[in-house]
């Protein structure tokens, strides 16, 4: 199957690869997926006192579409408030990257990673945990 130019671009030049200090109170970490499934994403956000995401980092074990989905997610997260970030929908990722139906699960995983990272941040900062959408898998 041919990959879209955008997937190839993110795969070739992934944005925001890296690791934030997960011990810090203003860093939220989302680790989703499983090695047996061939996809593991770790997405991290750093949030300032105004609830704005100042930095986002990822590392992904997975196919090109999984790498591109998480790379794109970090781009979209930066500069958004935590609440705004919650509105990132997997279908927007599908559209932006022109993912074929068999790769939709990569975008779902990226959305899960965002929500898990936000929840981690919320719990660390005494906010109630949000209910996670039921996994689409």
């Amino acid at each position: 199957m041919a990959y879209s130019d955008k997937v190839i671009d993110h795969y070739t030049n992934p944005r925001n690869v890296g690791t934030l200090d997960k011990a810090k109170k203003n860093v939220g970490t989302g680790l989703v997926g499983a090695p047996e499934c061939g996809d593991v994403m770790r997405l991290q956000i750093e949030v300032d006192e105004n609830q704005i995401i100042t930095d986002a980092r990822f590392k992904t074990f997975g196919c090109g579409s999984a790498i591109a989905s998480s790379s794109l997610a970090t781009e979209w997260l930066k500069g958004k408030t935590v609440d705004e970030a919650l509105s990132i929908d997997n279908m927007a990722i599908v559209e932006e990257l022109a993912l074929p139906p068999v790769k939709i699960h990569c975008s779902v995983l990226a959305e899960d990673a965002i929500k898990t990272a936000i929840n981690d941040y919320r719990v660390k900062n005494g906010l109630p945990e949000l209910e996670m959408p039921k996994s689409h898998h």
């Binding site: 199957m1 990959y3 795969y11 992934p14 690869v17 690791t19 680790l31 989703v32 997926g33 499983a34 090695p35 047996e36 499934c37 061939g38 996809d39 593991v40 994403m41 770790r42 590392k59 992904t60 074990f61 997975g62 196919c63 090109g64 999984a66 790498i67 068999v102 790769k103 699960h105 995983l109 899960d112 996994s135 898998h137």
Partner: protein
């Protein structure tokens, strides 16, 4: 000068040898006759060409030309052998023994046979991919009519102990069928010495054209028959109807002749390149060769690069045409069932690449492949959270992964 991408997927298919194409050409142009036309020169020419191909093939596998049944390829041959024996020998029994690591062209007909009321035992293999002969003996019942074990595996290249298997079959009066698609033309296959009763193989895995293959069906000691799976015309001793694919058959014949003549020197050279590739790539930390390296085809290497996902890796080695044991394209994300049968964990199975060399592979291509793969693995590990955890000494099994 290297032409990119480099083709290292020769277990999927091989390029057509120019000598084969040359032999086929006349039969695609002015010598277009139907081999079944008995009353004019066009037909005689075609029949003569087919007979000659039969001899070339027979010489390669040491059988009589009359024992070759031409088909459209190995999948058809597998179907004809399995279903054909099941029907023909229904009065003797209904039990077939095979392996879990067989090609789908064997496993799916077996499933079909189960639906038709047959019984099939799927034997497990050991961590090298080899059959356990004792388990084979124990699986035999008085209803067993056929043992079906592939000669060499398409994913890992592991060669099964064919002679030991056929000896067991013979001792118990059971027919022995082997899918030898990956073996014929690559390593010496001798149906007499190997004790094979039926054998499937294909032209396009041995530098011949696609769309043509054969089923060897033994005529003596014992005389084997299969029930035709297609009706019409009664070609090929009534076992496979349909106008013969004359140019294809001529190509298969020529491919067989070249294989017979060049096999020894080809496989020596190819194995040396394969060994070098494997030696270099296994200098990469946390890389593992899958399957037996002792009993293996000379041109295959299947390697897992832990903490890197196979499909992502294939995208990273975009200048190489290889294949991966990871199929991240379905909802189930199931990795290779062959690698899993060796006892590989799912993550290692997802991390594998298969390299398949050919007689046309060049040393410079191997040099390039080594550098390209090393670079891609390093790059993807930089991206891999699992690699980071491994480097930090975190046991990945201690993590509760989210089910998805």
């Amino acid at each position: 000068m290297l032409t990119l991408p480099i083709y290292l997927d020769n277990n999927a298919t091989t390029p057509l040898d120019p000598r084969v194409l040359e032999a086929m050409m006349p039969y695609m142009t002015n010598m277009f006759g139907n081999a079944a036309s008995r009353n004019h020169a066009f037909g005689w020419q075609a029949e003569e060409a087919v007979d000659y191909a039969r001899e070339q093939i027979a010489a390669l596998i040491n059988c009589s030309p009359k024992e070759i049944i031409f088909t459209s390829g190995a999948t058809e041959s597998d179907n004809l052998a399995l279903k054909g024996v099941f029907e023909m020998y229904a009065s003797k029994g209904n039990h077939i023994i095979t392996l879990t690591t067989e090609h789908k062209a064997v496993l799916d007909p077996c499933k079909h046979i189960e639906k038709m009321g047959g019984k099939v035992t799927y034997l497990k293999v050991d961590e090298k991919g080899l059959i356990n002969l004792q388990e084979l003996e124990e699986a035999i019942t008085d209803k067993t009519i056929l043992i079906s074990v592939m000669y060499a595996n398409n994913e890992i290249g592991v060669i099964q102990p064919i002679r030991e298997i056929s000896t067991i079959a013979k001792k118990r009066g059971i027919l022995f069928f082997t899918d030898a698609t990956q073996a014929v033309g690559k390593i010496p296959v001798d149906v007499e010495a190997d004790g094979i009763d039926l054998m499937a193989f294909s032209a396009h895995k041995m530098y011949g054209p696609k769309g043509v293959g054969a089923l060897y069906v033994r005529r003596k000691n014992p005389r084997v028959k299969v029930t035709a799976q297609m009706d019409g015309g009664g070609h090929e001793r009534g076992m496979r109807s349909g106008t013969l694919n004359v140019p294809g058959i001529v190509g298969l014949g020529k491919a067989a002749e070249i294989a017979r003549q060049d096999m020894e020197s080809d496989s020596k050279r190819i194995a040396a390149m394969r060994d070098r590739l494997e030696r270099e790539l296994t200098t990469i930390e946390e890389s593992y060769v899958n399957g037996s390296t002792e009993h293996r085809l000379p041109h295959v290497s299947n390697i897992s690069f832990k903490y890197v996902e196979g499909e992502g890796l294939m995208m990273g080695v975009k200048d190489l045409a290889v294949s991966s044991g990871s199929a991240c394209t379905s909802a189930s994300l199931e990795p290779s069932y062959v690698l899993k049968a060796l006892g590989l964990s799912d993550d290692l199975a997802h991390s594998s690449l298969r390299f398949g060399l050919s007689r046309f592979t060049k040393e410079e291509e191997i040099d390039f492949a080594i550098g390209h793969v090393k670079e891609a693995v390093a790059k993807l590990r930089e991206l891999s959270p699992l690699w980071e955890m491994f480097k930090e000494g975190i046991d990945l099994n201690s993590i509760e992964w989210a089910e998805h």
